[in-house]
């Protein structure tokens, strides 16, 4: 199923995209799986996603842990810890 993936801050800069729509293989079940699958594309993906412990995620705009299942979500996001305020 097509999945819209959004990137923010230095994740966006290193990948060179703010968003894209991809269809991950069925074995990509969780956000951690997705991050690993994307990192394997190499280049900016590998650079941005090399340290999953520095990353946070959202599934359908809700903040989640990386072990969260993507399920039937339409939109996910990958970004660094937030720094607003």
């Amino acid at each position: 199923m097509p999945l819209t993936i959004l990137y923010f801050a230095w994740v966006r800069e290193r990948i060179g995209l703010s968003e894209e729509t991809l269809t991950p293989p069925p074995e990509v079940a969780t956000m951690a799986d997705l991050i690993g699958w994307l990192a394997a594309r190499g280049g900016g993906y590998a650079e941005a996603l090399a340290e999953p412990e520095r990353l946070r995620a959202a599934v359908d705009q809700n903040f989640v842990g990386l072990d969260t299942a993507i399920g039937r979500a339409r939109e996910v996001a990958i970004f660094p810890p937030v720094t607003g305020g």
């Binding site: 923010f8 801050a9 959202a58 996001a77 660094p80 937030v82 720094t83 305020g85």
Partner: protein
Amino acid sequence: MIRILVSRDPIDLAAEAARVEQAEVGAVASFCGLVRADDGVDRLELEHYPGATEAALDRIAHLAKARWSLQAAIIVHRVGPMQPGERIVFVAAAAPHRRDALDACAYLIDRLKTDAPFWKRETRGADARWVEARDSDGAAAARWDDI
């Protein structure tokens, strides 16, 4: 009343504060954060996650209203490029009495720091870097979990 605003425009303090000044309100506590000129920062850029940001701020404001006796909660956050000294965030809580207003105001800004998807990028001359999250912000937000 809950007011959430994420905007590229400068924050008008007087206009925002005036929104909550009504006859039944006895106390308004507010916090305003400014861009600091830390170590020669000459520009700050705020990125956010449109849609998710407003939803996160709305959730924080509703949690505050559920927890304290509030007549109003306001969260206004600026995004885009800013200069040192400019206002970046304004929060306010209005209540019949000061304790609820003061506590709710602190809650709004502490939670915003950890629960809303904003990212700061500082520029010093030709050098730009993304601001790292601070452990102390997590601790400030977490103290509201215990009481």
